[in-house]
């Protein structure tokens, strides 16, 4: 029930926020905050599961809720949560609160409608992360898009309509492919077993011919990597991110992109183990190329938000690489990257938003020497830029390192290629620092005439940003709790895959290594 309650609270909160617009000018944000806090409180329910991995009987699910919805198709309203979902839920709620707090004063018209969309996006995402019925998953997958569309199209910047439509068409068209794949999967399962169902747990056992599985897998895959986004379907992202309002960018970067990665891990790998295995080299290559290509494009941008957006492409390339390495370490790294990227990029978008709010431009050619007037903001930006280039000690490093270590075991060359992306990350992150915060201060910003505007970070903003920074440091130094939470899901997914190919090359070489280690084990201290 907790899951349903969270979703309902968010949906209801959104509606109340909208309705209250007429009576309370600024009530929407308080309502949103309260709803989010309530949702966060509900998440505490799962506290007891955190310490004990793999405790429950009856599968990996901590909690689930099932109700018949469309019996005609064997569709049920089926929500469940496991470690992975829990992590994603936590990230969602946390980033929701962060986005809300960061843009507390930014919205100055149609506030109620804004918070309606904001909360509905979050509700949709929560649904995506908890839906276990494939149809329901798809349902939420789409539901989260519409409010996001409005967020971009109404409160966005100059080219918002273009960006919004592009965003929507990309994700929607690809998700139609997924819908076909979902229906195809259910239909094949129905033909084989005579039972029409969209239940994930049952479809896991669907018997597919290799060919069918491959095509179905591709359907899912494309939908997910469009969302991720990976090459060559990434081009919606820079536009959407750039044109979205700050809160929208935060949601997009921190949460919506993760739904793609989540989908890959939750659905693609376990449902189609053989074809995933066959497809892995291609997917890894796509991931590695995304890493490099994203970094290179980030380097070439003038618009700060675009830079951050392309850096997301690069970072999410690591996720794809890690997931398709089909290696426990790499997949764990990918999960970690989802979280770390969520935190760091959300903060960067928030910072760019804050900067734009104060200086009214994102063009790096017009900025420069901002450190002199906004030292706090610049220092925080420095921190997150460094986080995004993967400095050890921060969450992103843990993620990228584990991804690369793990995927190196699967494929040396592709991983080495992706590792070059680390240089690219340094290039664009430092370029941003150099162009925006260092150097000479531009004349137009020197005069403190609009002193109200150019105030440094307020306490509210500082607290929000520093809490993210703190989280990143904590993850960077003590990531183990998160690894523990996601472990059952990851190991199960990998086990599914290993089960179908016990004699695969890489694994055998792996066991060789183990032998070596055992033979030398007694000598090492």
């Amino acid at each position: 029930m907790t899951l349903l309650a969270i979703i309902i609270i968010l949906f209801a909160g959104g509606i109340i926020a909208w309705l209250s617009e007429r009576y309370l000018q600024k009530g929407g944000r308080w309502i949103s905050l309260v709803s989010l806090l309530l949702a966060a409180l509900l998440l505490v329910n799962y506290w007891s599961y955190l310490g004990t991995p793999q405790s429950v009987s009856g599968g990996p699910w901590w909690d689930s809720l099932q109700a018949a919805w469309i019996p005609r198709f064997g569709i049920s309203f089926h929500l469940a949560v496991d470690g992975l979902s829990f992590l994603m839920l936590t990230l969602t709620i946390a980033m929701g609160i962060f986005g809300l707090v960061m843009t507390w004063n930014d919205i100055n018209f149609r506030r109620g409608f804004f918070y309606f969309n904001f909360l509905w996006t979050l509700a949709g995402v929560v649904g995506v992360f908890t839906a276990i019925d494939l149809f329901l998953f798809f349902f939420f997958w789409e539901v989260m898009l519409i409010p996001m569309l409005f967020l971009i199209a109404v409160w966005g910047y100059e080219k918002r309509i273009y960006a919004a439509i592009k965003f929507f068409i990309f994700t929607q068209a690809s998700s139609l492919l997924m819908l076909i794949a979902i229906v195809g999967l259910a239909y094949i399962h129905y033909r084989n077993s005579g039972q029409l169902t969209f239940n994930y747990n049952e479809l896991l056992g669907a018997e597919l011919t290799a060919n069918a599985a491959y095509w179905l897998m591709l359907g899912f895959f494309i939908a997910f990597i469009v969302k991720l986004p990976a090459l060559p379907f990434h081009t919606w992202l820079p536009d959407a991110h750039t044109q979205a309002p700050t809160a929208g960018s935060i949601l997009l970067a921190a949460i919506l992109l993760k739904t793609g990665a989540y989908g890959l891990l939750r659905f693609n790998l376990p449902l189609f183990p053989e074809s995933s295995m066959a497809f892995a080299p291609v997917a890894m290559t796509i991931g590695a190329i995304s890493v490099i290509y994203g970094a290179m494009l980030a380097f070439a941008q003038r618009d700060m938000k675009r830079l951050v957006a392309y850096s997301s492409v690069s970072h999410m390339g690591f996720v794809l690489l890690g997931l398709y390495a089909l290696d426990t370490i790499a997949v764990q790294g990918a999960v970690m990257q989802m979280i770390a990227h969520g935190l760091s990029t959300a903060a960067l978008f928030a910072l760019v938003g804050a900067l734009q709010h104060r200086l009214h431009t994102r063009d790096m050619q017009q900025l420069g020497g901002v450190w002199a007037i906004l030292p706090k903001l610049s220092a925080v930006a420095l921190f997150f830029a460094i986080a995004s280039l993967g400095l050890p000690g921060l969450g992103n490093f843990v993620a990228e390192f584990t991804v690369l270590v793990g995927s190196f075991r699967s494929n040396h060359w592709i991983t080495a290629l992706a590792a070059i992306g680390l240089i690219g990350a340094a290039l664009y992150a430092l370029l941003m620092m150099q162009r925006v915060f260092f150097g000479k201060l531009r004349n137009q910003f020197e005069s403190p005439s609009e002193s109200g505007d150019t105030a440094d970070l307020s306490l509210r903003e500082s607290c929000a940003l520093l809490s993210l920074a703190l989280l990143l440091v904590v993850i960077g130094l003590r990531p183990q709790p998160i690894f523990n939470i996601s472990e059952p899901t990851v190991t199960q997914a990998i086990a599914e895959i290993k089960a179908v190919a016990p004699d695969q090359n890489l694994l055998s070489s792996q066991s060789q290594r183990q032998e070596i280690l055992i033979s030398t084990g007694d000598k090492s201290p």
């Binding site: 019996p71 005609r72 789409e142 199209a153 109404v154 309509i161 439509i165 929607q172 076909i180 229906v183």
Partner: protein
Amino acid sequence: MNAQELFGILPLLLVSAGIVILLLQVSFWRGHVGALATTIITLVLAGISCFWVAGTLSTGASSIQVTGLLLVDHTSLFFALLLLLTAIAVCIMGYSYLRMRCNPKVNSGSYPEEFYILLLLAMLGATTLVFASHFATFFLGLELISLALYPMLGFAVNGDLSPQKEQLQSLESAIKYLLLSALSTALGLFGIALIYSASGSLSFSGIASHMTELSQTSTLFATGVTLLLISVAFKLSLVPFHIWTPDVYQGAPTPTTALIATVGKGAVIGFLLRFFSTLDLYESQVLIDMLSIAAVASMLVGNLLALMQTNIKRLLAYSSIGHIGYLIVAFIIGKSTFGTEAVIYYLVAYIITTLGAFAVVGLIADSVEEKVLNGEYPENPTLNSENPYQCDFYRGLLWRSPWLAGCMAAMLLSLAGIPLTIGFIGKFYIFTAGIEGQLWILLASVVIGSALGLFYYLRLLLIMVQRDNIVTEEPSGSVQIATSGNLLLIILTGALLVFGIFPQLLINWINAL
């Protein structure tokens, strides 16, 4: 013809009686509201009688054959009911449309009541069409719809205070539809005649019984069916017989547009389902190929045409071309019960959504027209933003009239097939049907068509939420519409959402057939 047979066609009889009563009523006492009331009562009674007949059907035989011309069964009753409900909605839209324009107090020559007579005649045709089991009734039903539609399309020409421009457009749409429709009727008749000459029978069951002796490859028969199909495709505005659609939709009075887009197509779909299943034409590869080609072409061409369209009625016309294309995908596997179910569900979704969209457009235009007639608004707007049929008029509508814009947004999302709306479930059905039939090319077209469709639905949707024109210097700040219109929109939007979120309700009803 016995009592049971007569009882079977009770809906038809009621509508006919309604026509006669309305005629008499009008000839003695002209009154707009009175005519509306009679019409709605007739339609409601006919609708109720559908349930009644269905009730007897489930106890007795599963279908009633009436004099070999009509066959009443559950599916056709469902269709009849659906169409009658649609007609009620059109009535309400018509009332709103005619209320100001055909006001006898202002202009003594205005006879709004004829609209309702014609509407009932069209409904008689439509119900006949869905009950038809014989080419005579098929043809008469189809032509009854057409003949009632011609004057309804051109209704604004006479007895109407619409601007000159709209009157001319109405006339143009009527003439265009008449000429093209007459040609398509002639072609269809020619086809029927060929079928008849090949099989020697005009009733579907008679032809079906001849099918075995008549070799499947009989080109005479095949030619006949093809010609008939062309005629039907014209009514459904499938590509390449779609070309009349936008012009007629645009020029006609909006309630008529809604009628032609919903009843005109729904009844034909109903006929087509029965025709194909009785004759088992799904086995004929060449017909399926033709339908597939038409479907693919409709999806692509319809959506492509709509891409940059700025006139909303034209836009909806183009989009309806695409939607019928989607529907045909499900229709192609119609031989399975699932296919039929998919067709019906999609049709329901299409009708609700199209009605809703045209209702919003019509109601908005009516409210603007009211201002025009009161002299508060330019009669022939020079700016696109003052023309209620142009996209630009909808700029920022969500802020001016949230309710209307909300309804329109719901309709657009449903047309685009986004969850929470009935259109999504409809699309889901299409996909399921396509996968069951393994129609990969068609599915690919659905995806491409949907992606194209998204563009213009979204464009319109986003125009409505645009913030830069909030400054209400326009004379038409907010749009006020009549209560009846609001009620209609509430019902349509409600249905759209309820069936979108709890599709099982509707599925149960369809499967109860």
